[in-house]
Symmetry: C3
Subunit: 147 residues, 3 copies
């Protein structure tokens, strides 16, 4: 469970843990950019989905979701720039990062109950775990973020 065992002190960071409460695509873009950058630096990334995070990873939601956490009035402008610049959607960035084998994604068991979903109903999710297990994982991380 501990990825870091063989990484000596003074090496570049070992593990980043991101707790994802938000299901808004602006914050998910930020999460995907940081995840993608971290794996390209040979870090491990672990992600824990809470309430809206689980919702946003539902197979029937993930591609349709256009929710922004702020500045709704600028959403169209940003969307058209993302298209012009050929920046892929957050879930494509995450898919690519996951292909390295260095990204693990967990859904919170309580949040999974709220949405009444199983692992199979969620994209990218490796396991459904309790918050206690997540605390243990965060304790090992060099970088912790809450999105």
């Amino acid at each position: 469970m501990n990825f870091n065992k063989n990484i000596g002190e003074g090496n570049l960071a070992e593990k980043m843990c991101i707790t994802v409460m938000s299901g808004s695509i602006d914050r998910l873009i930020g999460m995907a950019v940081l995840t993608s950058a971290a794996v390209s630096m040979d870090m491990e990334v672990e992600i824990f989905l809470q309430l809206w995070g689980v919702y946003a990873f539902k197979k029937d939601v993930i591609k349709q979701n256009m929710n922004l956490s702020e500045f709704n009035e600028l959403g169209e402008k940003v969307a058209s720039r993302l298209k012009e610049l050929k920046i892929p959607p957050w879930y494509e960035m995450l898919r690519e990062a996951k292909e390295t084998g260095r990204v693990k994604i967990y859904a919170c068991s309580a949040a999974a109950s709220i949405w009444n979903v199983k692992k199979e109903d969620l994209e990218f999710v490796d396991e459904i775990i309790g918050a206690g297990e997540w605390i243990e994982k965060m304790s090992d991380a060099k970088i912790n973020l809450f999105i």
Copy 2:
């Protein structure tokens, strides 16, 4: 002030610090779930309330507050599921976690001035402190999160 003095290296995490800017109940639920899990793993938790955090802990607000940070249109659905699953409100989770004696809650002095409140006007708050003191507390933590 340093809870960690006697905890050797390699032990499970010692202290989690959560800076609570948000006063929205979705994010407060996430905070309460993590706090509750952390104390059950024998961690200490320290919480610092900023602007909306102080507002949400006001005795005349805490139980009435229904604000969500995102996905307002799904609020009713989530509320009814929480009820069905008998998941207690965030402040009840926090009350229980606090009974372990391992949770300390601070309100930012500047934010307390903005709301014109004293410690007695706020639920669960142990002390009103300045941001400098909070920085010092965060420096000791194994896990830092900003909600």
Copy 3:
């Protein structure tokens, strides 16, 4: 690049890194208060602007921006209290913190492209960098926060 080299173990925290996704002034106030407190404790602070963060630091936006991330209905009340208490706007707090020389502000290169801005179009920004470089900076930090 590593500010911490000469700071021995056991000393007060060395560096705080804040990833700023949000462009809302409530969350930016929280960021500025923590930054200001950290430099007053002799810490270094590094800030990385993502999507809305870059937007909020645009020279043609920074002073006009009144966006709140939540509780819009309380915005006027808070604004008038801030004025009464003579609490300066977040960007003035940041300007003062930056004068100590212990605050570095970076804009994410992808976000800068989205807004089609250069360093000169942004207030306070020292450099435009990629997310990989930011991961490296976060790895060195004692405190990491995502706003």
